[in-house]
């Protein structure tokens, strides 16, 4: 276990697996109402996340994972993120994200009468964020 008050324990959990289990120095997420930075000894918090990468600092190095909405709970220097989907940069399927991006864009451009705009936009956002993370952090 990490020394109390110096690091945070970060857990990212999806329905199928635990994506991350690490001791980190700082966590940066985007909640529905804006960015949230979490340092050790943060007060207990529950936040609802938007589709945006989750970044964390560990040993002076910044790393990111994708998070497709979900929730974050801070309690007792443990940050738990539960989300329907999350990937590490090396696990992102770039080809799939690209085709998802194209599909969502086409749908938004075509704008069919029965189009679920919120859903298409969410799909586009997920694809774009995956590509961002893969590009910036994938080649390390």
């Amino acid at each position: 276990m990490a020394e109390a008050g110096k690091t945070l324990h970060l857990e990212v959990i999806t329905p199928d697996a635990a994506v991350l289990h690490e001791d980190v120095d700082f966590v940066l997420v985007r909640a529905l109402d804006g960015d949230l930075g979490i340092m050790p000894n943060h007060a207990p918090l529950i936040a609802s996340l938007s589709i945006w990468p989750l970044c964390y600092d560990k040993g002076g190095k910044r790393q990111c994972v994708t998070v497709a909405s979900g929730f974050l709970e801070v309690h007792d220097n443990t940050v738990t993120v539960i989300t329907p989907a999350s990937e590490k940069p090396e696990d992102i399927d770039v080809a799939r994200a690209q085709s998802a991006e194209k599909r969502a864009e086409d749908r938004l451009v075509a704008h069919a009468a029965d189009l679920d705009v919120t859903r298409a936009e969410a799909a586009l956002q997920r694809a774009l964020r995956r590509l961002d993370v893969a590009e910036k952090y994938g080649k390390q």
Binding site: P15, L32, T80, P84
Partner: protein, 287 residues
């Protein structure tokens, strides 16, 4: 008594069947292990989400979300039925069917709405001349989270629109490879767990943006997870039931082969004895 050739043919055919059941047994035991792992992997997610839900509703007891509020009268009930796509799984599907009958009988036809996952329960409903509102198939032994989302969204929508007043899920709970039980559980309206956090200081949580918004976002995901869990449990149960059924089929085939082999040997021996007697008596007649 059948001839030796006939018995021999029978033995061959039973051996073939045994090979098939043995292969199915192996396949389902491998997949069962995978399905079980997945069901176990979801446990921490469920636990955390239930924890958050509890803390949220403790923090904002009066944030009346429509998903918590029971409708005044229950006129129409929605049943989400989770069965399998393939048969040969022992009593798995007939137990689900029995549960369907138990909830549908003594009720007028238009008092229930059915959402069905799996080809087998669909066939059974056809037999009962019932038309499900919506059906899904093709994923009964390997459900994905996206399947659960589809089902949960539709059911939630129907509930919020007032089309149905209660939603139940009929699924099979996986206890072990040998025992599963069919359960009927209420999904909507969500029932709050009683007796939360007795004694001890309650910690003050901060919420971003605020408790009500977080709760509104959390509840749909909780329901997705609820369905996902039921799908995973049913998948593991299906594979477990199939494994058990195929194990006993393989054993039975083995027993049958043993019995037939004994009969075959007896018939062969009788034939040889017969021939010998004929030869000996023929030789005796020549003397």
């Amino acid at each position: 008594m059948p001839s030796a050739r006939e018995i021999n043919r029978r033995i061959k055919s039973v051996t073939n069947t045994q090979q098939i059941t043995k292969a199915m047994k192996m396949v389902s035991s491998v997949r069962l292990r995978r399905a079980q792992d997945r069901a176990v992997a979801t446990a921490p997610y469920t636990e955390k989400m239930e924890g958050m839900l509890q803390r949220l509703s403790a923090a904002s007891p009066d944030a009346g979300n429509a998903l918590f509020t029971p409708h005044d009268t229950v006129k129409k009930t929605c049943y989400i039925i989770i069965g399998s796509d393939k048969g040969l799984a022992g009593a798995f599907n007939s137990n689900v069917n029995k549960a369907i009958v138990s909830v549908l009988k003594d009720k007028p036809r238009d008092a229930s709405m059915l959402l069905v996952a799996g080809r087998k329960p669909m066939e059974y409903l056809k037999h009962l001349h019932l038309v499900p509102e919506k059906k899904w198939s093709g994923f009964s032994d390997k459900p994905q989270f996206s399947h659960a989302q589809q089902i949960a969204h539709l059911a939630t929508q129907k509930f919020l629109d007032g089309e149905v007043d209660e939603v139940y899920v009929i699924y099979t709970h996986f206890k072990s490879a040998l025992s599963q039980d069919t359960r009927i559980v209420k999904m909507l309206p969500i029932t709050q767990k009683e007796g939360q956090q007795e004694g001890g200081p309650r910690e003050e949580y901060l919420f971003a943006p605020d408790p009500k918004l977080v709760l509104d976002a959390l509840l749909p995901q909780y329901l997705d997870l609820f369905i996902y869990n039921s799908l995973l449990q049913s998948a593991a149960s299906e594979l477990g039931a199939r494994m058990t059924a195929m194990t006993s089929a393989t054993d039975n085939a083995g027993e049958l082969i043993d019995k037939l082999t004994v009969t075959y040997n007896k018939v062969r021996q009788a034939g040889i004895t017969n021939e010998l007697t004929e030869i000996v008596s023929g030789a005796n007649a020549l003397q």
